[in-house]
Each structure stands twice: as structure tokens, then as C-alpha cells.
């Protein structure tokens, strides 16, 4: 493990001027306990994790359980990436981002504007509108987007710090349904591409990195795995493997075999 770790340490990820040695972003949703979340963060080596905003339970008063999420994340030493999950309009997403800036003292936001309840696919016009307004207000915007290279380019052109195309619908575990589009997005924008959503297992994140993604965001695939900590370790290794492979220069695909052992000097019996 030490060799791959040192390789990535020399190969940092930079988003909006913030440099990270890990190319794995972790979502905090779905972990059965805060202890498991803390252990998974450590195992993933992630330095940037998402957090959501929801109503304080009025009936129950200020819940200590919720408050301690912040403590766990602070103890883990990670930076927070607030999201606007659950927002269906640009207006809701903008207000949520503004509240997140107040709550977490960061102007970073993972912008999600959902357009469909069944697939949780992004609503492209609302997403662009929200991104434009938040950028005007000085936010560092990382939009969750479809795997459409044109939309990704529009978001990057507006000034988004990265684009986060989906591999497949959130929580579906279907992996990368359109690898071709993901590689086109990598060509289409100059900002980091962070594959987001749809990851099911470690080979999915490896493929993402091989396709040229700069980082991968994983939530459910880790938090809802039977052993989240082991899966966090697997995802970390998968990201490293894919990154190394993408830089190593793979061999071209061929229709027929190419002998790896030379014909020259072959004995005749």
C-alpha cells in the first residue's frame, strides 16, 4: 500500500485552489452509525466529504445526535462540501447553499437540483440558473450533472470549479452506463471532472479514473455496503489503481492476439 500512497501523494487533486492528496470524495449519507462513518472516512483517506442540511427536530429539541455529526467530521479533519440534495428549483437550491454557507462557514457547494423523483436526475435549466446565481454570489460551485458533455461544458463555461457527472442514477449501483460520454466530458472541460453517483463497487471507480476523471465521489456504495469500512478501503485502492492506469498509457485494443512471447528461437521437434 505504501507505494501507491506515495504515488498519489505526488499527484494531488486541485479544485478551486484547494489541493488534496485523495481523489476520493465521500458522501456521508446512509451510514448506519457515526462510528462507522468515522471509520469509513479514515479507511477512505478522503479529505472532502459531503454534508446535508435538514430541519432541526422542533418536537425533540436540539438533537445531540445530529450535532455530533459536525463533531465527527471535525475530528476526522476533513473539509466539508455542503450539498443541496432534495432541492427541485434553482430558488430552493440557492437558499439552501446560502444557509450552508452560514452553517458550515464554507462557500463551497455541491449543487444538486433534482428534476425527477424516480431517477433523481438533474433538472438542467434549473441547474444552470442556480449555478449562475451562486457563482455571482461568490460560491465555489460543484454541480451534480447528467453525463451530457454539452451541459458539462455550459456549467464549466459559467465558472463552476468542477463538474460532477453521474455514472448512473444516485444510489442505483449501476456503475457507469455511458463511459463514452464520461470521456467526452473529460475532453470538453478544463476543470476537474468528478464522477458522481451510480458507483456500485470498486471496479466502477477504477473505470471512472481510467476514463480520465480527476476524482470520484462515492456515498451509498460505501455506506450501504455490508462492510462499509472494507468497501471504503476498496474504493480508495480502486481510485488509485485507475489513476495510475490512466497515466500509465494502456495498450490499444486489438481484434486478434499479439503473442507476448517472441517467435524467434522457437524449437522445432
Amino acid at each position: 500500500m505504501a507505494d501507491t500512497l506515495s504515488a498519489t501523494a505526488a499527484d494531488p487533486l486541485t479544485i478551486a485552489g484547494r489541493t488534496m492528496s485523495s481523489r476520493l470524495l465521500l458522501g456521508t449519507g446512509g451510514f448506519p452509525s457515526l462510528d462507522l462513518l468515522a471509520d469509513a472516512i479514515a479507511a477512505s483517506a478522503s479529505e472532502l466529504v459531503t454534508v446535508a442540511l435538514r430541519r432541526v427536530d422542533v418536537a425533540g429539541g436540539g438533537s445531540a445526535g445530529r450535532g455530533s455529526l459536525i463533531e465527527v467530521l471535525a475530528d476526522a479533519g476533513v473539509e466539508l462540501l455542503p450539498n443541496t440534495a432534495g432541492c427541485h428549483t434553482a430558488r430552493d437550491a440557492v437558499i439552501t447553499a446560502q444557509m450552508a454557507r452560514e452553517a458550515f462557514a464554507t462557500n463551497w457547494v455541491k449543487l444538486e437540483v433534482i428534476g425527477d423523483e424516480d431517477t433523481l436526475l438533474p433538472d438542467a435549466p434549473e441547474l444552470l440558473r442556480a449555478a449562475e446565481q451562486l457563482l455571482d454570489e461568490g460560491f465555489v460551485v460543484l454541480p451534480y450533472t447528467t453525463d451530457d458533455p454539452v451541459l458539462a461544458r455550459r456549467l464549466a463555461d459559467l465558472g463552476c470549479a468542477a463538474v460532477m457527472p453521474l455514472g448512473s442514477p444516485i444510489g442505483s449501483g449501476m456503475g457507469i452506463r455511458n463511459p463514452y460520454n464520461i470521456s467526452l466530458i473529460r475532453e470538453a472541460v478544463d476543470v476537474p471532472v468528478v464522477l458522481d453517483a451510480g458507483v456500485g463497487t470498486a471496479s466502477d471507480v477504477t473505470l471512472a479514473m481510467e476514463l480520465g476523471c480527476d476524482a470520484v465521489m462515492v456515498a451509498s456504495a460505501i455506506s450501504r455496503a455490508e462492510d462499509p469500512v472494507a468497501m471504503a478501503r476498496a474504493m480508495r485502492a480502486g481510485v488509485q489503481a485507475g489513476r495510475l492506469a490512466s497515466q500509465a498509457g494502456r495498450i490499444p485494443r486489438r481484434h486478434y492476439a499479439t503473442a507476448s512471447t517472441p517467435e524467434q528461437g522457437l524449437a522445432e521437434f
Binding site: 446512509g30 459536525i70 446560502q98 452560514e102
Partner: protein
């Protein structure tokens, strides 16, 4: 009637945001808490002075696992 997190609340108009935060058992220094009144964010520095108008819709949000 003031509506707090979607529920009618026994909070008189004129009460400050800081007082509502205290009612919820939260400390004014609590990390990960944000407040909006009628769709506008109330910055933490304004909690003490912001008096809730009649029929204010107040949202008090906090950190939750997600994403």
C-alpha cells in the same frame, strides 16, 4: 402565527431569532446551524437583533448525513 420548520409554533411575534434558537435547545455558537425567515437567510450575527414579524415562516436547519 409563526410557523417553525413547517409547524405552527407558540412563538410570539417580536421574539428574536436568538430566542427561537434557545427554545430549540441550541446554543448560539452551535456549529452547523442556519436560519432563514420568509425565504431569506438570517446571518448568525443578526440573530440577536432580528425580531420575527407576524406570520413569519422560520426554518432552522442543521447538519445531517447526506450526499
Amino acid at each position: 402565527m409563526i410557523v417553525l420548520n413547517g409547524e405552527p409554533a407558540d412563538v410570539p411575534a417580536g421574539e428574536t431569532v436568538a430566542a427561537v434558537i434557545a427554545r430549540l435547545g441550541l446554543s448560539a455558537e452551535a456549529r452547523g446551524v442556519a436560519v432563514a425567515v420568509d425565504g431569506e437567510v438570517v446571518p448568525r450575527g443578526g440573530w440577536d437583533s432580528y425580531a420575527l414579524p407576524e406570520d413569519a415562516r422560520v426554518e432552522v436547519l442543521t447538519a445531517m448525513q447526506g450526499g
